[in-house]
């Protein structure tokens, strides 16, 4: 280890970076310091730790956490009180046993959770990476990678730490990374090493590398990095383009070397992770408050009792002293009252029995199992069932008001599919049956057989045979169409395992090129100056004259190629609105029909592109090329001039057709979103992806519709701009709604408050906000404005946001709205959001597991969310509320009830079956407004309980005070009274639970009848001769129930008590059901009357859009790879597909190199071929 070649990394401590300061303890306004993070600080390894405890800290830390719960602390106080014999009215083990039980159960659960965190940490920490040690590469665990190490990464590997790219297998030190885990963007990104280090691709050279990096302190900004490399006396500035971040995946690059700059917890990924919070449900918090109230109530009761006792002792007890003298220490009546106070606190503690907490936990655990067991949330493709990873949040699922969703991998599958196309006015892609009706494409629909094409990609699916026929019949337009797709792109071909694989910058492009490949125009190879396409089995090489690259304003890209016959053609693809303006007037008719078809495609939610071409004559082209070459060397305003030049040649094109690409949504996403919308759940999409894509997805998954009144786009770059845009949008909404109800002007003025308006707004608005605007909008002066506006809108889409911003948005809503938030995501970029929200949901089955590990619930597909919320959430909430109401009722009714009774109550509440829960999402609203269990509800059931207890006591009192047993022996003794009251109580609460039960299943019957039986069994057992024989002092009630329950009059008393307790409640219930039925009641009635009918499936499928809202391109948001290709920088040797031969010799040294390399891989001396060195060293 000591020999490890480690480099120095310094971090600049400036005033801005508090983190470094904190660690260093430097004065705030100190001079610029360098913080050496290499050898001296051994802690800076790459180990990550998400677990909370280790073996030694577990017990104290866990206990400390547990005693922060009000209830647990309360029970400890009680326990201490009970240990004092003078005031103890119950033996101490009645508290200690359940308390220990609760503590142990919770501790075991925490321990298991933490164990799994340890395991996943360990799994990540033990991943292998290759580290340069003592001049050779050695396998080393991730956790042992230190700052300053040089590590080697291979294709498709995760990057182990934040590293500075030194060199790679690609020429010019280029390498490609996928950052989906970090920011959700799916296109590959290019990273390039410094030119001075890019030829270090050799272990011995790397060993001699002794650069020194000075960089900024660790932070969470994913798109920014500043630093300098000092090497051989020179300084080189470093930026984000030279850094590979932890969590990225190396793609399309055989290997690369990098120097670790940030490791472990300092990496940007971990910095973005946010803090794990202990999540509590609102019912938990409410319960805590209630426990405090009850405690206050207890104290009141105790005080009343104590005063009563003092008075009694003075007036009565003193004269009774003869029979019951005061104990020595009990010197006065006041002191006796003081003791009584404590005794009553203990006796009455059963108002909040510890069983409440046990029962609540058990209930939640049960629900978690039901979630795990739900076969409808099981995905058979990935073999994943839903998992409730946290078992304490179930009822909160029934109260969600905001859902924050990631896009990539959550809403979409991140697969682009070439779905339809229009060629020369004919659409392809739909399947018709023999009667000419369109057939819905399902799994079973027969795919087109591409076996005629040896190069076809097996995973490509197309259903319309007519297109293949058209290709086979050599329809010139169709051929030209696919030729365009095969030529006009920036995709790189690669051979892997004998198959042709495309590496596309964006998945859209990949889909288009793959489509062309399958239809017989396979793009096989490219050099900087040529493109080889295998056209219907024949290799044809086109000379690539120019790539007119894509950018955001042009919204199109073109290529100029010369074919083998020497004809020069320009092929262009781009957004239809742009292309249509550049067309030759002769295509006018075609434009009209194509436009219609584009509308149809857009209506299907597909992404469309228009394709056009143009033949160029030689001379014009020569002139243009000269200008082009000249401009390439110009430095000033090159971009603008180039754009003008491009536009000049892209005039007068002929339309070929259009393509339609489906950004494949996950199964059932639109239905889920509409259903959740109906349940008044607001869905916000937070994505790292670009605006166009996000908006398009929002349209195709029903978040935005054509009837959405207005979509506000906020994209300001400064605080002022953003503020203006937000304010304008808000005013717009408010003024419109004012106009819409002019009659209520006075009323509006009267309220004046915006929140009142929220309900009144009928029109639907949507808000789209960009990452940089969001940064301003989240600042304190604007955040309230932003939130107000966002809540006025039906859908909110935030694009290009960083993981930390996602968490900030969630936090903002949490802080200001007091609503339950749920975040759902699949990648590492969603972790912080998942951790911040009340409920985090991870989509599992994808590559990374970070999201799942941080989540509370996980399942395979977004559509499971509706079931999780609308069915399980609602039931959980409903059950928990019923349970709590019932529990408090029961406890107040009579505090001394056997504690097992609470256990099963939860099973008794399931009101509406799952199908109807899904069909009527509005049922969900009761949870959001906390309707079923709130403080009012608590008071009502407390009152109910107190009334019941009053009746329960005074009816038997009235009866017994003058009662004599049938055989003359007494009946009014205390034990008989206890048995009678307890029996009445059990019967009353059983009847009550029967009334509360909406859904009698076998389990309910079992528990209700079982508990009644249990009661009697236990009652008789406790009073049996045997137990008395063993412990005469403990079980002294021997025979009480036998003697009293055999008495008719006792049963008459019980009957009367039951009737008196139940009838008022029944009366109120039936009045309520008849006069003010809730929606649940209505639905239950409906459900009953329609029991035999199968509920028809509601059609929530995506409504076909009619308008012309078209989404164009999803190229990169940045400049394309065009320049890289023409410069030849990203060309590599072994990319040439063996199926195609090179007839033409390209005048490129690179290509010659390639040929040489193919013949003799070892002796290659290309500028970018570190293979040799590598093979030497290995």
């Amino acid at each position: 280890m000591t020999d490890r070649h480690r480099l120095a990394v310094f971090m600049e401590i400036t005033q801005a970076c508090s983190r470094g300061q904190l660690q260093q303890g430097k004065p705030r306004r100190g001079p610029r310091k360098r913080w050496h993070s290499g050898k001296e600080s051994p802690t800076l390894d790459n180990r990550i730790k998400t677990s909370k405890y280790n073996i030694f800290t577990f017990l104290p830390v866990n206990l400390f956490e547990q005693f922060q719960r009000v209830a647990n602390a309360y029970f400890v106080v009680l326990l201490i009180l009970q240990l004092i014999p003078e005031i103890s009215s119950l033996s101490w083990f009645t508290t200690v046993v359940p308390l220990v039980l609760v503590l142990v159960i919770t501790a075991v659960k925490d321990a298991t959770d933490d164990y799994f965190r340890h395991k996943s940490d360990q799994q990540v920490n033990n991943r292998k990476s290759q580290v340069l040690i003592r001049g050779s590469l050695q396998k080393e665990k991730w956790m042992n990678v230190r700052v300053g190490d040089i590590i080697k990464l291979e294709n498709n590997q995760f990057v182990a730490a934040d590293i500075l790219l030194l060199c790679s297998s690609e020429p010019y030190g280029l390498c490609y990374v996928e950052t989906a885990e970090l920011d959700g963007e799916t296109n590959l990104k290019v990273r390039q090493a410094l030119s001075v280090t890019s030829d270090l691709g050799d272990v011995s050279k790397l060993h001699d590398f002794d650069g020194e990096v000075i960089c900024e302190p660790p932070n969470n900004k994913l798109d920014k990095f500043t630093g300098t490399l000092n090497w051989r006396g020179n300084k080189y500035s470093l930026d984000n383009e030279k850094i590979l971040l932890r969590g990225c995946i190396l793609r399309n690059t055989e290997w690369c070397f990098g120097m670790v700059i940030f490791a472990g917890l300092q990496t940007k990924l971990m910095q973005n992770c946010g803090k794990t919070k202990f999540k509590r449900t609102s019912i938990d918090k409410l319960m805590n408050t209630l426990v405090l109230w009850i405690f206050a109530f207890l104290i009141c009761m105790g005080v009343i009792m104590a005063i009563g006792n003092t008075v009694w002792e003075i007036w009565v007890g003193r004269s009774f002293e003869m029979f019951l003298p005061w104990a020595e220490f009990q010197s006065s009546a006041v002191f006796s009252g003081f003791l009584t106070f404590w005794s009553y606190i203990i006796i009455l503690n059963t108002v909040v029995p510890i069983s409440l907490y046990v029962s609540v936990e058990v209930l939640r655990l049960g629900h978690s199992f039901f979630i795990n067991w739900d076969v409808k949330m099981y995905n058979s493709q990935t073999d994943t069932a839903a998992v409730a990873r946290t078992t304490t949040l179930n009822e909160e699922l029934g109260q969600v008001e905001f859902i924050f969703s990631d896009k990539t991998g959550t809403l979409t599958e991140n697969i682009m599919v070439f779905n339809k196309c229009s060629i020369n006015g004919t659409t392809y892609g739909d399947v018709y049956d023999e009667f000419g009706h369109r057939v819905e494409i399902t799994e079973k629909t027969a795919c087109v057989d591409f076996s005629f094409n040896l190069l076809s990609d097996g995973s490509f699916k197309f259903y319309d045979n007519t297109l293949v026929e058209a290709v086979k019949q050599k329809d010139p337009a169709v051929h030209e169409f696919f030729r365009l797709l095969a030529l006009c792109h920036t995709v790189m071909p690669e051979e892997s395992e004998g198959k042709l694989v495309y590496q596309a910058q964006s998945p859209d492009e990949g889909a288009l090129v793959t489509a062309a490949r399958n239809f017989g125009f396979a793009f096989c190879a490219r050099t900087p100056e040529s493109v080889t396409v295998c056209e219907m089995g024949h290799a044809v090489t086109y000379q690539l004259l120019a790539i007119l690259d894509f950018n955001n304003t042009r919204k199109r890209m073109s290529v100029i190629v010369r074919d083998e016959e020497g004809r020069i053609k320009l092929y262009c693809k781009g957004a239809d609105t742009i292309i249509f303006d550049l067309l030759d007037p002769s295509s006018k008719d075609l434009v009209y029909t194509t436009s219609e078809q584009l509308n149809y495609f857009a209506g299907e939610g597909l992404r469309t592109l228009a394709l056009a071409y143009k033949e160029l004559d030689e001379e014009y082209c020569d002139v243009w090329m000269k200008k082009f070459l000249f401009l390439s060397s110009v430095l000033e305003s090159r971009e603008d001039q180039l754009a003008a030049l491009y536009e000049e040649i892209e005039q007068g094109m002929k339309l070929l057709g259009a393509t339609a690409i489906e950004d494949k949504l996950q199964e059932g996403v639109p239905e889920t979103i509409s259903r959740l919308n109906l349940a008044d759940i607001k869905i916000w999409v937070l994505t790292g992806d670009k605006q166009e894509t996000a908006v398009n997805i929002a349209y195709s998954c029903n978040m935005l519709r054509d009837d959405t009144t207005e979509v506000f786009v906020v994209s300001g770059h400064t605080l002022m701009e953003v503020q203006q845009q937000l304010r304008r949008a808000k005013e717009h909404i408010l003024s419109l709604s004012r106009v819409s109800d002019t009659g209520d002007d006075e009323k509006n003025d009267m309220y004046g408050d915006d929140s009142v308006f929220e309900e009144a707004i009928i029109a639907e608005y949507a808000l789209v906000i960009n990452g940089h605007s969001l940064a301003h909008a989240l600042e304190p002066p604007l955040e309230v404005l932003f939130l107000d506006l966002a809540c006025l809108c039906k859908s909110v889409i935030c694009c290009r946001v960083t993981p930390m911003q996602k968490a900030q948005v969630v936090e903002l809503v949490r802080r200001h709205k007091r609503a339950v938030t749920l975040a759902v995501g699949d990648g590492a970029n969603d972790v912080s959001m998942i951790k911040t929200s009340h409920i985090g949901v991870g989509i599992s089955g994808q590559e990374g597991m970070q999201a799942v590990l941080a989540s509370d619930f996980s399942f395979a597909q977004f559509r499971c969310l509706q079931r999780l919320l609308l069915v399980h959430g609602r039931w959980s909430y409903f059950r928990m509320s019923s349970f709590l109401s019932y529990f408090f009722y029961k406890n107040f009714a009579f505090t001394l009830v056997h504690f097992w009774y609470g256990f099963f109550c939860g099973f008794s509440a399931q009101d509406v079956n799952d199908q109807n829960s899904l069909r009527h999402p509005s049922l969900y609203k009761s949870g959001q407004s906390h309707l079923l269990f709130n403080k009012r509800q608590f008071f009502l059931c407390t009152l109910h309980g107190i009334t019941t207890s009053f009746l329960l006591f005074f009816v038997p009192y009235g009866a017994f005070s003058v009662m004599v047993k049938e055989d003359g022996s007494q009946l009014s003794d205390q034990q008989t009274l206890a048995v009678t009251i307890a029996t009445s109580l059990v019967i009353v609460v059983s009847v009550q639970i029967g009334l509360d039960t909406h859904y009698w299943t076998g389990v309910n019957h079992l528990f209700v009848w079982g508990s009644l039986t249990m009661y009697f069994v236990v009652l008789f057992a406790m009073q049996s001769d045997g137990l008395f024989g063993i412990f005469p002092n403990t079980f002294s009630c021997v025979g009480a129930s036998r003697n009293c329950l055999s008495e008719t009059s006792v049963w008459l008393v019980i009957l009367l008590t039951t009737a008196v307790c139940i009838v008022p409640d029944l009366f109120i219930r039936s009045i309520r059901v008849n006069l003010f039925p809730t929606q649940t009641d209505k639905l239950r009635r409906l459900q009953q009357s329609r029991k035999k009918q199968r509920p028809q499936e509601q059609n929530l499928r995506r409504v076909r859009r009619t308008s012309s809202r078209r989404s164009a391109y999803a190229f990169s948001h940045q400049q394309g790879f065009g320049e890289l290709i023409t410069s030849g920088k990203n060309m590599r040797a072994n990319r040439i597909s063996s199926t195609c031969s090179y007839e033409r010799t390209a005048p490129s040294s690179n290509f010659i190199d390639n040929v040489i390399k193919r013949t003799n891989a070892v002796s290659c001396v290309s500028f970018g071929s570190p293979n040799k060195h590598q093979s030497n060293t290995e």
Binding site: D911, E966, G968, S972, D973, S1049
Partner: protein
């Protein structure tokens, strides 16, 4: 084995599709509709009404005489009264009850001040009473008290004698002083310490009587040796602590084997002789002698029938209101319309 095998396929993690796990158990879901609630209410009202009337009639037939006078407090042992207490149609027993008022047998500290282990005859407990008995566990000389505790110490020890003045002169009404307790108490809960060939007095040697008692526990009943010790019925009756400060304890049952008492007490003149032992003036209490007959449903108790009648009428009232509500609003189910 077979089950495990089936779990290893590609769908290994698929949850079981059982009715329980999928929460699809067949269920009966009752609804509170007018058609179910109204008949129930009317029926309940009717049942309560009938029970109330029946109970009332039963209670009317029971008879009760209370000999309740402040003079019982003083030293006036004789009381003469003329009262007809016979009911030839009711062959039930006639009970003597002693009634105490304002005596708090239900005080927690009082109730705890006893040792059931001692009373069930455990030898060890006999000599070392439980600490709950304090300060009635040992006397001043440190001798253990049997039975210990405040409850036993304050045992009621008045005795009653009822005299019937016939034409032939006064005759003492015969009284059964046995069968006053629950079977379980007499035979299980209270036992004398096991004595092999020892007399009761020998068994209890080494203990002393409670300080308020006039005689030791093994000599409570001078007439019946088997009614002594912890199984003395008066003691057992007393040890069953009353739930309320005003309570009655069974004293004796009229012995009806011989005439003229075969049908209860015949009409005539009676006097009650009370030997006054139990002081009540300290706690401002009162004593009563109650003679009562019982019905199948116990002694004279007007509370239950009246409560039933009141409940019945209330239920009827709510039922009528409910009917009205239903008639006016809910009949056509318009509130239920979605």
């Amino acid at each position: 084995m077979g089950k495990e095998k089936s779990k290893s396929g590609p769908l290994a993690r698929r949850p079981d599709n059982s009715a329980f796990k999928q929460q699809r158990l067949p269920a009966w879901s009752p609804m509170l509709t007018a058609s179910t609630v109204l008949p129930f209410f009317y029926l309940l009202a009717l049942i309560c009404m009938l029970l109330g009337v029946w109970l009332l009639l039963t209670v009317q037939r029971t008879q009760e005489i209370k000999v309740r006078d402040s003079r019982l407090q003083g030293n006036l042992p004789r009381e003469r009264q003329r009262k007809d207490l016979s009911d030839p149609s009711d062959p039930k027993d006639l009970f003597y009850l002693s009634s105490l008022e304002n005596f708090h047998q239900n005080l927690r500290r009082y109730m705890d001040s006893r040792d059931d282990g001692q009373m069930v005859g455990r030898k060890r407990s006999l000599k070392s009473p439980s600490s709950y008995c304090k300060p009635f566990d040992f006397d001043a000389n440190g001798v253990p008290i049997a039975p210990c505790g405040a409850v036993a110490n304050s045992m009621f020890n008045d005795s009653f004698l009822l005299t019937y003045y016939t034409i032939n002169g006064p005759s003492v009404v015969p009284l059964l002083r046995k069968g006053l307790t629950w079977y379980t108490d007499k035979n299980i809960k209270y036992r004398n310490p096991k004595a092999d060939n020892q007399t009761l007095a020998e068994v209890f040697e080494g203990t002393t009587q409670p300080s308020f008692w006039q005689k030791p526990v093994y000599r409570l009943d001078p007439f019946d040796p088997s009614n002594n010790g912890f199984i003395n019925e008066d003691l057992i009756v007393w040890m069953r602590e009353a739930a309320f400060p005003n309570f009655k304890k069974l004293y004796g049952i009229l012995y009806r084997a011989n005439k003229p008492y075969t049908n209860g007490l015949p009409a005539g003149n009676y006097s009650a002789t009370i030997s006054y032992n139990f002081p009540v003036q300290y706690f401002r209490g009162r004593k009563e002698l109650v003679l009562t007959t019982v019905s199948w449903f116990g002694g004279q108790n007007h509370f239950l029938p009246i409560a039933y009648l009141v409940t019945s009428s209330l239920i009827l009232l709510t039922a009528v209101v409910l009917t009205g509500v239903w008639w006016k609003f809910g009949k056509d189910g318009k509130n239920m319309a979605e």
